[in-house]
Symmetry: C2
Subunit: 208 residues, 2 copies
């Protein structure tokens, strides 16, 4: 079931990756109004090739999303020497990475596309984005949370619930505002500050 959701490079040639990059490019500044002709033009390839490689428009979009989603991969957190300080740092760093990805043009474009297609779609791009975004993040952070609990640093019943709260504290209204087209200035410094605040708040709520 999940097999088709996260395979990113299903044997893509360099040329094919270049085409997908072009598609991503078009996606970023044309959104769902991406046309096959435009992708072909931008990638300097023929439409025939696009159809040969990706089947149809939906196939191209799916391939683009999967490829990009696989590239992102959630930030890695090392579980070494766990103490209050290192846990706080891990949460901080994780949040910073999460916000950085989420506020990027590419993430916004991909999420817009997936939202637009959600429900009415054979390939279910929404599922793919969800699986490689929100879900992957959870899978990545939860072990850290559980380690923190075992080390007596955190207190919670359900790691999933705890992660959802962490997610809320980090993301807040940023993602929905960006998706809705709000010109939200999000500089690196601000992201860092917000991630730090979120980590502090999470520890205040779940710290033992």
């Amino acid at each position: 079931m999940a097999t088709t959701l996260d395979i990113g490079d299903r044997d893509l040639t360099e040329r094919q990756k270049a085409v997908l990059t072009a598609a991503l490019d078009v996606l970023v500044d044309a959104g769902d109004r991406l046309t096959m002709t435009e992708v072909a033009r931008r990638a300097s390839c023929s439409k025939e090739t696009l159809y040969k490689w990706f089947g149809d428009r939906d196939g191209l979009l799916t391939a683009t999303v999967q490829w990009q989603a696989a590239k992102v991969r959630a930030p890695i957190v090392d579980r070494q020497k766990l103490n209050r300080e290192s846990l706080s740092q891990s949460l901080h760093a994780f949040g910073r990475d999460l916000l950085t990805v989420l506020t990027g043009d590419i993430s916004v474009a991909l999420n817009r596309l997936a939202v637009a297609h959600a429900g009415a779609d054979k390939r279910d791009l929404g599922r793919v984005v969800l699986e490689n975004g929100r879900i992957a993040m959870g899978r990545r952070l939860k072990p850290v949370l559980e380690a923190g609990r075992e080390a007596g640093l955190l207190r919670f019943e359900d790691a999933e619930q705890a992660f959802r709260t962490y997610f809320g504290l980090v993301v807040r209204d940023v993602q929905i505002r960006l998706l809705l087209g709000d010109r939200l200035k999000v500089g690196g410094a601000e992201i860092d500050r917000e991630a730090a605040t979120a980590a502090d708040q999470f520890l205040a709520l779940y710290g033992a």
Copy 2:
């Protein structure tokens, strides 16, 4: 500037409202694949009438969104006898209403539409939805937060920041998951519980 963003009934007749209701109906179960023909059919009116009343497809969508958005209007919180208990109750109730709206079919459909159109749109549906959703909520709750601060129940610098945190604690990953098509069961009981948790957590973070 903001004048066109929140006027909902710009002198709409009953018949016109009925047509918009039909449009909303189509929107909910066809999403962006809504066609003028289908709206006309569902509303038992002619396409000519649609164009006469709303100009073009975009005009119809905009009218629908504005009309619906104006209808929702953020939950009202009375600022009566402010004490720790009543403040907690207000936060709880507000969160419950917010989640109830956000998880509704109509809200999801409207947000999907607005996200899909964001950026590439003269009428900027994203702005309208943002203004009547997230922003309106903030305007509604902030006075309560500030009253709480003046009553010595809350401690924060910036009401906007405090509200954004509250928003994050309440909404968490629910909205993005719904927008991405996740089949997320959200019953009334669960909403109530989550709103209660969010209120508690918010008070834990900002309570004086």
